[in-house]
């Protein structure tokens, strides 16, 4: 699976958020799962659950145990993602993919240090107030501040705010 599923997921999540949906689904793959978990960790999503083509029961989102993945249902399994809203506004207002299949954007530690402090570096603009940048590093998908803390660079996936 390439980076295109991440780009699609970003567009879908932003659209779903602007449409004020409570629960939406992404294709279940490793990249999407890691990005969704990173977003969840950053507080943009309320829940991330694996499920089938139908949404899991809403009252057991946290205690729900999905079916084990088999070769039969792997194609139809989805990631069900809960969206958050606060003060009549979506928490995830903007989610823009940075890397595209046609151009992968990678960034080193030096640039990321500048970007995370709000200054532009290379192709990346500095982070604004409340903005997050998600990277795919060899230690997993994480936020730029965590990557800088861990002295890591990597593939820039998306900007969220």
């Amino acid at each position: 699976m390439g980076i295109h599923s991440v780009a699609n997921a970003c567009a879908h999540l932003q659209n779903a958020s602007r449409a004020r949906l409570g629960l939406t689904s992404l294709p279940n793959n490793k990249y999407n799962l890691r990005l969704a978990l990173a977003l969840h960790k950053a507080g943009f999503l309320s829940c991330v659950t694996r499920g089938g083509p139908h949404p899991p029961p809403l009252d057991q989102l946290s205690s729900y145990t999905p079916e084990p993945i088999t070769s039969k249902n792997v194609a139809t399994s989805r990631l069900w993602v809960g969206l958050k809203y606060w003060d009549n506004e979506p928490v995830l207002k903007h989610l823009n993919a940075v890397s595209k299949p046609s151009r992968l954007v990678t960034s080193g530690l030096k640039d990321l240090e500048r970007v995370s402090r709000g200054f532009p570096a290379g192709h990346l603009k500095g982070l604004n107030l409340g903005e997050c940048l998600f990277l795919a590093t060899d230690r997993g998908v994480m936020e730029v501040r965590e990557a800088v803390e861990r002295r890591l660079g990597g593939l820039v996936l998306a900007r969220a705010s």
């Binding site: 950053a42 507080g43 958050k84 606060w86 003060d87 928490v91 604004n128 107030l129 409340g130």
Partner: protein, 475 residues
């Protein structure tokens, strides 16, 4: 004869000539007839003259000759037309009229001879005759004047003052009470001995006063005990209240009915409107607003005039616009004004008027009225980078470190100065339209992100690193 001049020329002389001819005729046998024809007067019109008095072709026949008005027929007609009152009719009349009126009627009947009515009376028989002869028992509103049964209104009546009105209301209420209540209640002096009743209470002897007070209190208590039972039985009905509201006179004429629905005219000396329409000058304004310009604003904003005048206002955009009508161009001035207190409040006012000065005043008042708080980071700059778009004008405002200053365009500079922002950088990304850039800047300042709201939304703790680094001593 004096014929020195042609006499026929003259109107009068022609008449004289005719007279002269007729006078001379007996003497002269030869009659110069053509000249002597009876040319009595000159014709003033061209139509042919009537020869003599017109006579009917058939001679008239008098009614007497036809036997229509002989004595017997007159008598019959009179008896038929002008009948005398029968005893039954007189009996009915007596039920309606007073004896004196009956006497007058009889005297009138005796005075007028019915025969005279027949011969001399002009009794109309045309279809447009009045439907009665002299009968005033019924009033025909179309023909007759409105009867005025009441006297004219009292010219000295005036509207009651408060005391008179209260008295009138009490007297009206009293009229519904049968027992001894309100105005008919006994008073304190009724319980005093007769010799003290006329004197003031202050001069009463002590024991008299004490006894009177005790008796009076007993009486009042007894009255109060029986009042509720009575009040349910009598008292004004809803109809009485309605009558009081609609028909009771509010003037000092004792509710006298009058023949006019109009109130009497105003007296000569009317107090006038002096002082009624002048706005009262508020002493809290300290004479700063004698023209009353800021009174409405004061009421809306809750600020005092001194505070309003202390605000900074500035005209940022002034345009001359015109409305093309069929009468021509109607030119007016459009003014954009900002107002701020240099401490985080900024307002925008746009007003238009054909009078430039009026537009300025209106926009200034609007700007003060529209003042809203602007979020400021450390009271010197904004939160993050904000972008706003109005029309084709896109403004990007960027927060800057302390001491950076205001590196912005002159209109944004004024706005920042008015609301107390000291460090800012700004860029107009597209159109530089003055009005829209100011509006977009205002929009951007108002839509800054709130870190606390973001933190609550994400469930995260946001820390201001500057404050952590400097130990909270950033200002």
């Amino acid at each position: 004869m004096r014929v020195a001049r042609p006499a026929a020329r003259s109107l009068f002389s022609r008449g004289l000539a005719a007279v002269a001819v007729t006078a001379a005729a007996p003497t002269t046998t030869t009659t110069t007839t053509a000249a002597a024809a009876p040319l009595s007067c000159r014709q003033f019109h061209s139509s042919s003259k009537l020869e003599a008095r017109r006579r009917p072709r058939f001679s008239n026949i008098r009614a007497v000759e036809m036997g229509l008005v002989n004595e017997e027929k007159v008598q019959n007609f009179t008896e038929q037309k002008f009948k005398k009152y029968t005893p039954e009719e007189i009996k009915v009349l007596k039920t309606v009229y007073t004896p004196q009126q009956i006497e007058a009627i009889e005297a009138g009947e005796a005075t007028i001879d019915p025969r005279d009515l027949t011969i001399q009376g002009r009794l109309r028989i045309d279809p447009y005759r009045l439907p009665y002869v002299d009968d005033f028992s019924h009033i025909s509103p179309v023909i007759d004047k409105r009867p005025r049964r009441e006297p004219p209104p009292d010219p000295n009546a005036r509207f009651m003052n408060l005391d008179e009105f209260t008295e009138d209301l009490i007297s009206w209420a009293d009229s519904f009470r049968t027992g001894e209540v309100t105005g008919n209640l006994k008073k304190l002096k009724d319980f005093a001995p007769a010799e003290w009743q006329e004197k003031a209470e202050g001069v009463w002897p002590k024991e008299v006063r004490k006894k009177a007070h005790e008796d009076f209190m007993d009486y009042v208590k007894a009255e109060a005990a029986k009042k509720p039972a009575q009040a349910e039985e009598d008292g004004p009905t809803d109809a009485d209240f309605l009558e009081y509201i609609l028909e009771r006179s509010s003037m000092t004429d004792n509710n006298r009915k009058s023949n006019s629905a109009l109130a009497p005219g105003l007296p000569h000396k009317v107090p006038g409107v002096a002082g009624l329409y002048k706005h009262s000058v508020d002493p809290d304004d300290f004479g700063l607003d004698d023209t009353g310009v800021y009174q409405d604003l004061k009421r809306r904003t809750g600020m005092s005039v001194r505070e309003i005048l202390r605000l900074n206002t500035k005209i940022l955009v002034r345009r001359f616009v015109s409305n093309q009508t069929r009468m021509g161009k109607v030119r007016s001035a459009s003014v954009l004004c900002i107002a701020g207190n240099k401490d985080g409040w900024l307002g925008l006012g746009i007003a238009k008027s054909t009078d430039s000065e009026t537009a300025v005043i209106k926009s200034r008042l609007l700007a003060i009225q529209n003042m809203r708080p602007v979020r400021r980071y450390e009271n010197r700059t904004i939160y993050g980078t904000v972008t706003a778009k109005i029309g084709a004008s896109v403004v990007e405002l960027r927060s800057r470190p302390p001491g950076f200053g205001l590196r912005v365009s002159h209109r944004i500079f004024e706005m920042c100065r008015a609301c107390g922002i000291q460090d800012l950088s700004a860029k107009f990304l597209r159109s530089h339209n003055p009005l829209n850039t100011v509006k977009a800047t205002y929009e951007a300042l108002m839509t800054q992100p709130d870190p606390e709201e973001i933190a609550i939304g994400r469930g995260k703790k946001l820390v201001d690193v500057r404050k952590v680094y400097y130990g909270g001593n950033v200002l």
